[in-house]
């Protein structure tokens, strides 16, 4: 019988009844699994200690409720339409440079497709999303650690800059001007610049073999020259300009970035990608992400969350573009690629408004 996965071993520590009988019986008699279990137990204990709850004393729920009610009351007492000062912390956070940075990071890290998907999340879901989204959420490479080593050579640094000229100088990208802001969008904007993201992945046949074995299957023979091959994944730089809506939330973002590129030191990237996708145990999510590296130089894959958004083909000044709309109508984005630069116009706007901004960029 194949060995249960490391996840199953981990669960055995916490919820043995959640693990199937054959797996439990196997582990009890298997030296390899018992050793894995011991290692898991050690790490779990260490993590438990590291994450130990500090002394909290008695939590005064009544006082906390009073504080929340007060914050709610302050919020309700505010006039509805007046542009808001950043009077509450979480609402203030939505107006912070961090939110502006999201636009730039999203583009640097994820180009149009992912940027749109993540902005979609910002606008589609509850407001806290804009607060919780950070660089770490957005800058994610596929988790290839089971198949080799991944090293982030250069983390994208995102910062707010004073003006368009600085943005242009830093990124080498031109910040396009919006000729006519949609109604309800505040005319003050924040400009952010994100530097390049570079990561390097080195394929290891040995590690891939282990991953395959953990999935209970044999590793298909790797193409010649793949073992030890290095792949460099590069994205960005990018720039973003974010305008608030009158409510204080992000209303419009225009972002541009150099489209991501993969460089290979040995076998062609496509060969490696197709091989990786064929490996047993490759999580569907990683496969989907890798498939995102398109080879033809003009097509930008758009992973639109099923059931959450619709995408339709359109055009912006002659370039083929994709229009994304969340099903609840809260968010619209248009994405296109021209000469290796991805541009996204997105906001809590109608399709007509977004397209009008996109086509009016100068």
């Amino acid at each position: 019988m194949r060995h249960p996965s490391e996840g199953t071993l981990r669960r055995l520590l916490d919820e043995p009844v959640g693990v199937a009988d054959p797996d439990r019986l196997h582990v009890a008699d298997c030296a390899t699994c018992l050793s894995g279990l011991a290692a898991a137990s050690q790490d779990a204990t260490a993590a438990g200690t590291a994450l130990e709850l500090p002394p909290l004393g008695e939590i005064d729920v009544d006082a906390a409720w009073h504080r929340l009610s007060q914050a709610e009351a302050d919020d309700d007492a505010r006039p509805e339409v007046v542009p808001l000062p950043a009077r509450r912390r979480w609402r203030g956070a939505l107006r912070s440079p961090a939110v502006a940075a999201v636009g730039a990071v999203a583009l640097v890290a994820g180009a149009g497709a992912a940027a749109a998907a993540d902005w979609l999340q910002v606008f589609r879901t509850e407001r806290i999303e804009a607060v919780t989204i950070t660089q770490a959420d957005l800058v994610q490479l596929p988790d290839l650690t089971a198949y080799g080593t991944v090293e982030v050579v250069e983390e994208p640094e995102v910062r707010v800059v004073a003006d368009a000229a600085t943005a242009q100088e830093t990124s080498g990208l031109e910040l396009l001007e919006v000729d006519d802001l949609p109604r309800g969008v505040d005319d003050r904007s924040t400009v952010s610049v994100g530097s390049q993201l570079r990561a390097e992945f080195t394929f290891s046949a040995e590690q891939a073999e282990k991953a395959a074995a953990a999935a209970g299957e044999a590793l298909p023979p790797p193409p010649a020259g793949l073992d030890g091959s290095r792949f460099r994944l590069v994205a960005g730089p990018g720039i973003a300009e974010v305008w608030s809506a009158e409510s204080g939330l992000p209303g419009l973002v225009v972002a541009r970035a150099v489209a991501p590129t993969a460089f290979s030191s040995g076998v062609p990237f496509d060969t490696a990608r197709d091989y990786l996708l064929s490996l047993p145990g490759m999580p569907a999510e990683v496969a989907r992400q890798l498939r995102g590296y398109s080879a033809d130089g003009t097509t930008l894959p758009l992973p639109v969350p099923a059931g959450e958004a619709t995408s339709t083909e359109t055009e912006v000044d002659g370039a083929p573009a994709t229009l994304l709309r969340s099903r609840d109508g809260a968010f619209t984005a248009v994405v296109w690629v021209e000469e290796g630069v991805v541009t996204v116009v997105a906001g809590s706007l109608s399709a007509d408004e977004v397209l009008s901004v996109a086509r009016g960029l100068r």
Partner: protein
């Protein structure tokens, strides 16, 4: 290095795994029409107080595990409940949503805190009086853990915090939109990564 360029979308984590959004199933409010306005102020949900009173201590605890401070944890809990109060998260999913939101918000605040801590360390590291050395060591340990947490992949960090906050595998799976089978794998990887981060950090000092 032979440069063979291929352009395409560099994907990020799927939105459903990035935050409370992944567990949120917005239900259109009655009378709000088909297009709710995300920028407008909705009514505060009627079950807020009930959910608050039952879940507040647990939400504070999730944040406190990350932040190591009760005051900061309570600030985070307030933010999270304010957002929840305007949300349409089904009551049955409230605890999972609140826990994920608390973990995310706390991890976010670590990032700014980490920068501050580095600066403080650089400025005042040598001026500590010996009689508070133990306290400083404990603080330093906590700071190391927090810095390590901030460096973990976000999904792993959230799964780790939720699991160690006592959520079951089924609850973590539902909250992060993972399959129950992969919760163990994610938590295991997080624990390995945390150990490596702490070791790496310690050996580089």
């Amino acid at each position: 290095m032979e440069l063979v360029g291929h352009r395409g979308g560099l994907p990020t984590a799927p939105p459903s795994l990035d935050g409370p959004g992944g567990v949120t199933t917005p239900v259109p409010r009655e009378g709000a029409g088909a297009v709710p306005t995300p920028t407008g102020r909705g009514a505060v949900r009627p079950d807020l107080e009930q959910v608050f009173r039952s879940a507040y201590p647990r939400v504070v605890a999730v944040a406190a595990r990350v932040l190591g401070s009760r005051d900061e944890a309570e600030d985070v809990a307030q933010e999270v409940f304010l957002a929840f109060g305007r949300s349409t998260v089904p009551a049955g999913e409230a605890l999972g949503w609140l826990s994920v939101a608390a973990a995310h918000t706390s991890l976010n605040s670590l990032r700014t805190g980490r920068r501050r801590a580095t600066r403080e360390h650089a400025v005042g590291g040598d001026t500590v009086a010996p009689d508070v050395a133990d306290a400083v060591l404990a603080l330093d340990e906590r700071r190391r853990v927090r810095a390590a947490l901030a460096r973990l992949p976000r999904r792993q960090a959230v799964a780790l915090v939720l699991r160690h906050s006592g959520l079951s595998y089924a609850e973590v799976a539902a909250a992060l939109d993972l399959s129950p089978g992969s919760v163990g794998t994610t938590v295991r990887r997080a624990e390995t990564a945390l150990r490596k981060e702490l070791t790496r950090h310690a050996s580089s000092e």
